[in-house]
């Protein structure tokens, strides 16, 4: 009853890669800006972001579902039961995590290094770029964690995607339906494919991170 495994794996990769990259585009610049702020105002922001860490993906899925349903405020976009809708749901889950890690990593760039940049005459933008460079390894970690969350996510993509054959079937939702139909061997196979994809992406990202070692 499941569709073509290649198409399923491809869609998983497409949705997860898109949501990870989009989340990075939002979370990394925002995380650098917020991480550089003075400690006082940072505490409130930190608490807010950390609360979003605890947002269960299924809840994010429900919220996006209600948003995208024809009934809902963004219904005219017709994004429910589509890959883009799934990407949106995953961004809601992944972006806060990446934001939090980036903020932490930026804040812990050694204060003296930031001061040195200032002493050398860096303006705000140049300081941000320098800190980004110093925190590079940590930011790659944020991307790895974000991707991990995205590719293994099942609740939100099931609710928003609907696991429609030829459309919105991904590796994780296929495992769930396989189990429901007691097709355990197929589920294991899908699981192995998922792990292989994840491992490949991680090894690539890890290699990126290694370039950070000066």
């Amino acid at each position: 009853m499941a569709g073509d495994p290649l198409a399923i794996a491809g869609l998983s990769l497409l949705v997860s890669a898109t949501s990870t990259l989009l989340s990075a585009c939002i979370a990394v610049p925002l995380g650098v800006a917020l991480g550089l702020r003075e400690v006082g105002s940072q505490r409130l922001l930190r608490n807010l972001v950390f609360t979003l860490y605890g947002l269960p993906p299924v809840l994010a899925g429900l919220l996006v579902f209600l948003l995208l349903s024809r009934d809902g405020p963004l219904g005219s976009l017709r994004l429910l039961y589509t890959p883009l809708g799934m990407v949106l749901a995953q961004v809601v889950v992944v972006a806060p995590i990446m934001l939090g890690i980036t903020m932490s990593v930026v804040a812990t760039v050694e204060r003296r290094v930031k001061e040195t940049a200032l002493v050398l005459g860096a303006d705000r933008r140049q300081l941000s770029m320098t800190v980004l460079r110093e925190a590079y390894a940590g930011i790659v970690t944020a991307v790895m964690v974000g991707f991990g969350r995205a590719i293994s996510e099942v609740g939100a993509v099931f609710i928003v995607g609907g696991h429609i054959e030829g459309n919105t079937q991904v590796l994780t939702t296929t495992i769930i339906t396989d189990i429901r139909q007691a097709e355990y061997a197929h589920a294991m196979l899908i699981g192995v494919i998922l792990l292989v994809i994840a491992a490949t992406v991680y090894s690539f990202l890890y290699r990126l991170q290694e370039r950070a070692m000066p």
């Binding site: 003296r112 200032l118 005459g121």
Partner: protein, 244 residues
């Protein structure tokens, strides 16, 4: 290009500890001035107030006879005319050349001029063929030399040195002191050298002063300061009567 530095009644308190209690100091343009004092007396605090890293509680700092501009871009412009080398190098992730050329890049220098000036600065500290070396793999002495080159490549008019050769071996100390002399000679910049090393102060400075208990106790021309100080406390300090 050079500038005078004047401090008037500078005060700074941390919590209930008053570190600077009204510091008055004047350094002539182009002079090399050694600020001495025991460890922890507030010399670093003073430098950090001068370079806008700490806001003073009271008092004024005059650069070339004028106060710092109140607006941020003005302050940034002034800051770019001042250089500082701290006790630890705090190098950026990257190569030696990346570090040395940092300040030039900040100021929009690029291309051939950037390469030329970077090479010149690295030559001054004896690292001309280490441009591609990663900053993390340098020895302590080499790293500090990079930090020095990074600070002076932009030709600051005022150079602040905060115990910049502390903990280094004699060979590296020699290289750095030669670099300071050469830099000062070619650019005529004003140099404020903070140190507790009397010998270094004697080697490098034309004038000296003693910071004690939050105020400047005495200043004077170097020879007179070290051999025949007027104040009893200065005498006790230069004679090594109390630990520093």
């Amino acid at each position: 290009m050079t500038m005078a530095l004047t401090l008037e009644g500078l005060r700074k308190t941390f919590g209930d500890r008053a570190v600077l209690r009204g510091v008055d100091l004047h350094v002539e343009p182009g002079a090399v001035f050694a600020l001495l004092g025991p460890s922890g007396v507030g010399k670093t605090t003073l430098l950090r107030c001068v370079d806008f890293l700490l806001p003073a509680d009271a008092g004024t700092v005059l650069f070339g006879g004028r106060r710092a501009p109140p607006d941020a871009p003005g302050q940034l412009g002034l800051r770019r005319r001042i250089g500082m080398v701290a006790q630890n190098p705090y190098l950026f992730r990257g190569t030696v050349a990346y570090n040395v050329s940092f300040g030039l890049c900040v100021r929009g220098v690029e291309g051939e001029e950037l390469e030329r000036r970077t090479a010149e600065a690295m030559r001054l500290v004896g690292l001309e063929d280490r441009g591609g070396a990663p900053a993390g793999k340098l020895s302590a002495g080499e790293a500090q030399r990079v930090a020095f080159a990074r600070a002076i490549v932009v030709r600051p008019e005022l150079l602040l040195l905060d115990e910049f050769t502390a903990n280094l071996d004699p060979a590296n100390v020699r290289i750095l002191e030669t670099a300071v002399r050469e830099f000062q000679r070619t650019t005529g910049a004003t140099v404020l050298l903070v140190t507790h090393n009397l010998f270094q102060a004697r080697r490098l400075a034309a004038r000296a002063g003693l910071l004690l208990d939050g105020v400047i106790v005495e200043t004077g021309e170097a020879k007179a300061f070290f051999e025949d100080p007027k104040d009893a406390r200065t005498r006790a300090f230069v004679q090594g009567d109390f630990a520093y």
